[in-house]
Symmetry: C2
Subunit: 355 residues, 2 copies
């Protein structure tokens, strides 16, 4: 039986505020019972009005009032300057003080990242945070990171992402020894730019608690070739959004194909069950809960537009991470990495980048 | 009535050699009649054996024998050293001498690029070639470039891609004044790294024969927000292959959903027509014929695994480009760009890259 865990919730974050965040917590409470308690940060009146609808949840919650909150379009720099005392800030602060084991926010990504870094600071040995996406594949879920915390990453940062991604996959998807690939334009050693080739050489040279597979290509994501795919935040963000766009396009085309004529409409009716299951499985944006990895504390970002069910799934990710040995595993691997990088830089691959 | 055009064909390139390249030419010949003639480079006996099957094609062809060809796994550096006199080399050489208006090859991308650059050289004012993909979207076809000729691109090269992509879209998809976007992690001016922000500032500052839209995100590709999407070859290659992988995953899941139970199988039967049309429309790798833009001459790359129908579509792209004012348009815009960049570098956007 796991120990009781407290989560801090930015109840005001997201497009819908407490109506979604409190209802999401209520759904999670059905699953966890008294094992998980909640600190709800935000406007007391609004939160209490929502709590009144969920009798089971009420005794599991403590409300921390603030009338300050971060707008969904607030710039990171402004959020950092003016954010102190906001529901987002206070939610992160509860993790720092140890009152909560993890925090969840559906607030805007830039502000969440800026405030979380300011309040919690980077974990020892980690240079930059990364946002990780759980990507549905033919074989299960692949963790893809970074999908937007950074616009550029050097070789060592990519290796740190590999370590954090593996610990995340192990903690949340229970893989014994996650396989890790670096996203590239080909699988041969000489392919790609200096950053990916440097990370490739470093991962080859270091013994870590992960199974380094080598380079993977874009087609390998949906195949589920590896458990963890490492990339810089620019490429990862574009790959994820390209896939989300295609998934939406696909859903629209499918709808159009099924309403093209009476025969196909009948066909759609007959196939509705299997198709619905498929659709849910396909959207890379479907699995909610993108942790910000690399901080001194667990912070999970929910989609801003999440509904209660989707918000509950972000809560579940936070619970899984808080209950795992996630942080210790990262720490152990970072120490091994530092031992290698401080000794000697690995030799660069030959300079033949032409495909 | 267009003038007669001669295409040079690397008849040995691709996984299937003359059995596909000659059959593809035969399909194209049905459409173009005597308006398009072919120079077929490769093993005379093998080519003649295939030509014997296509009576209509035979009088439109001249066979140029060589028993040298580039293997599909040959490294670019090796292909450059040893490629002289090969079917691929000779096909490019025919464009250089002016015997052919364009060439088509299904040979390996790296070797084709290396040899084409060596034989044809870069067009005036263009620093690097780009491979362009015709990407099916909700609104038509968006030209995405670069999808793999380069691993890194600076701001000026991205602007050159914009110019080449717009000329390509105009020539092949007949858009009057193509809209162009730069792929980024957000749409605001301060988003992204120096290269995309520099290109953004340059395109804002220059008056070109194109409609500069601004930054677009990954989700905008499938939406068809713009006619041309510009990105570096690393990101473009990964976005394209991610989408190809996802499209294949969709197709498999769809098949699985339709065979899940007898009812859904009946459903599939009833909807077959509309679904087949949809499937063909969705695969970003489905439209064959990726030109190598930026050279002194038109070179179109076909998929190595193309069948005759798909090879014919690569031939059609080559014909459209050869018949258009594509080259003159690029030249005109490059001159305008050079006028701006030689005057003064545009001011960089403010240094606030955090999302």
């Amino acid at each position: 039986m796991p120990e009781s865990l407290t989560l801090s919730i930015d109840a005001m974050g997201g497009d819908h505020g407490p109506s979604v965040t409190v209802a999401g917590a209520a759904l999670a409470a059905r699953q966890y019972g008294t094992e998980v308690r909640f600190l709800l940060h935000g406007d007391e009146k609004l939160i209490e009005a929502e709590l009144a609808k969920h009798a089971v949840l009420r005794p599991l919650c403590e409300v921390r009032h603030t009338d300050k909150f971060i707008a969904m379009d607030e710039k990171p720099a402004q959020a950092m300057r003016r954010g102190k005392g906001s529901s987002l800030w206070n939610a992160a602060e509860s993790v720092k003080t140890g009152e909560a084991g993890a925090c969840v926010s559906a607030g805007n990504t830039g502000a969440l990242m800026a405030i979380a870094m300011l309040v919690l600071r980077m974990a020892p040995g980690i240079h930059r945070p990364a946002i990780v996406a759980g990507w549905p594949t033919a074989k299960g879920i692949t963790a893809v990171l970074d999908v937007g915390a950074n616009v550029e990453s050097d070789a060592e940062q990519l290796v740190e992402f590999a370590i954090m991604g593996a610990a995340f996959h192990h903690a949340v998807y229970k893989s014994a020894r996650p396989s890790v690939g670096i996203l590239n334009v080909g699988s041969e050693d000489q392919k790609g730019h200096d950053e990916v080739r440097g990370a490739h050489a470093l991962l080859r040279a270091t013994t870590l608690d992960l199974d380094y597979y080598g380079f993977v290509e874009g087609t390998d994501i949906a195949k589920g070739t590896v458990d963890v795919i490492v990339t810089d935040g620019f490429t990862g963000n574009i790959a994820l959004k390209t896939a989300e766009g295609l998934a939406r396009f696909f859903a629209n085309e499918l709808r159009a194909a099924f309403t093209a004529n009476p025969l196909s409409m009948l066909g759609a009716l007959l196939s509705a069950g299997s198709l619905g299951a498929m659709r849910k499985k396909l959207d890379p944006g479907g699995a909610n809960g993108g942790p910000l990895l690399g901080l001194n504390g667990i912070v999970v970002k929910s989609h801003g537009g999440a509904d209660a069910r989707s918000y509950a799934s972000a809560i579940r990710v936070a619970v899984d991470l808080a209950r795992s040995d996630f942080t210790a595993e990262i720490d152990r691997n970072i120490k091994r990495l530092t031992a290698v990088t401080s000794e000697t830089a690995p030799p660069a691959a030959p300079d033949d980048k032409v495909e």
